[in-house]
Symmetry: C2
Subunit: 232 residues, 2 copies
DNA sequence: TCAAAAGTGTTTCGGGTACACCCATGT
DNA sequence: ACATGGGTGTACCCGAAACACTTTTGA
């Protein structure tokens, strides 16, 4: 019996991927949005995303659409949730697999906007425009997930440059968790993890120079393999 | 401009839902499987599931397929993850939105097997058969999620009958978390939550009769609204 | 010399864990 | 009377939280 004889004839929804890309802004988290160049919702802001190709893994589709529409490079990408309400797209049944992603620096090569996107831009989470489709709920869910995940998985480092100060790390956690943290407790705890490597570099600027640290990915991989849980 | 003019012409994968249904067995968790009545993998055990209909929400599809194939009633259902590897189904591109679900008692009306399923049966997690497609990974992920979620969301009660003893609750947590718990500490902690209501009923059997409790859903809803987090 | 940010220890409190015996019933 | 599971209190320990001043640099 050939494989062809198994082939389904079934109502097939369209399948897209959409991506919530977070960056660390000066004023809270930032989210990358694109202005739609096509109907429906032409001219509205929306999450970057698009159709999944025939032989493409879902995550690859998300990465590809992001490069196509914004030219950005991700340091973290994970599936978020699949949204499939029948009425979520006026064109008909479109199921979208949503992802959320982190980038290390907002100042990547200036955002390009191509593909379906007419424009790409960072928005701080406090001044978001109306979003197309059900993208506002997707974004909300992604923000919640980020907040929940950051304290028990070391994904925060994906929002910082490779070398960072402890104060920068603390600011990051304060922004993501939406609450102030005690400086001394934070430093003690984060250093006790044994996952930060002190470099001999300094960050200079106003005030006392600060030691720069990097996250020791290998040490984390080893510790994780032995049942260590991150927890911050 | 009419909506029709927006309609996409795009390679459309088939979309299915699959469901990992957990019940509390005598020997650890049990999972509900169906024997496939159709190719591919005809005769193999698989997760219950099937195609999403044109105008159907994903969760509804999962519920419908479960009733169709096994006649079971769920007390909890949540989306798990979407599996979309291009090669996961020999028939072509099939993306499946996986769910996991809990039932309160294994002894529901005797399992019926209809639809695509030739047979439906509970398996303890320790003696699982080979599964069709990538269903083994789906099951594994669901089991991990269950374990992770049970300590900070009161979903464990969805595995017990409405009235239960504290010992039964403890056994449940021990099974799900895969570790022994201290009886006194467990009771203190769980009662301190203030979410259990002592009834005047007793469970009789060998040994001393045990008080029966029920979970106070309303109290939990109220507490949750005020920012309370379950945590056990 | 002043402004700005970095860096540093100790005490207190609460929750987590460990632990062993008596009680009420059915057989 | 004995087997079976139900029910109860205390002591210790460790991690979390609260808290304020000194240091180093650039302007």
């Amino acid at each position: 019996m050939s494989l062809e004889s198994f082939t389904y004839d079934w109502p097939r929804p369209a399948v897209t991927v959409d991506c919530v890309v977070f960056g660390l802004g000066l004023d809270g988290m930032s989210v990358l949005l694109v202005r739609r160049g096509e109907e429906p919702f032409k001219g509205s802001w929306a999450l970057p995303g698009g159709f999944v190709r025939e032989e493409e893994r879902l995550e690859d589709a998300a990465r590809r659409e992001l490069v196509e529409e914004t030219g950005i490079t991700l340091s973290f990408l994970e599936q978020l949730y699949t949204f499939g309400a029948p009425e979520r797209d006026p064109r008909g049944r479109v199921i979208t697999v949503a992802f959320y992603a982190l980038v290390q620096e907002l100042e990547q090569p200036p955002l390009v906007a191509t593909g379906d996107a007419a424009e790409a831009q960072w928005f701080t989470e406090h001044k978001l425009p109306k979003l197309a489709f059900d993208h506002a709920s997707i974004l909300k869910l992604a923000r919640t997930r980020l907040q929940g995940k950051v304290s028990w998985q070391p994904i925060g480092f994906d929002l910082l440059p490779r070398l960072f100060t402890l104060s920068a790390l603390q600011r990051l956690y304060e922004v993501v968790l939406k609450r102030p943290l005690d400086k001394r407790n934070f430093r003690r705890k984060v250093l006790a993890l044994g996952l930060l490597v002190e470099t001999d570099q300094l960050r200079r600027g106003p005030g006392r120079p600060a030691k720069l640290y990097r996250f020791d990915k290998e040490a984390y991989a080893r510790a994780e393999a032995e049942g260590f849980v991150f927890e911050l």
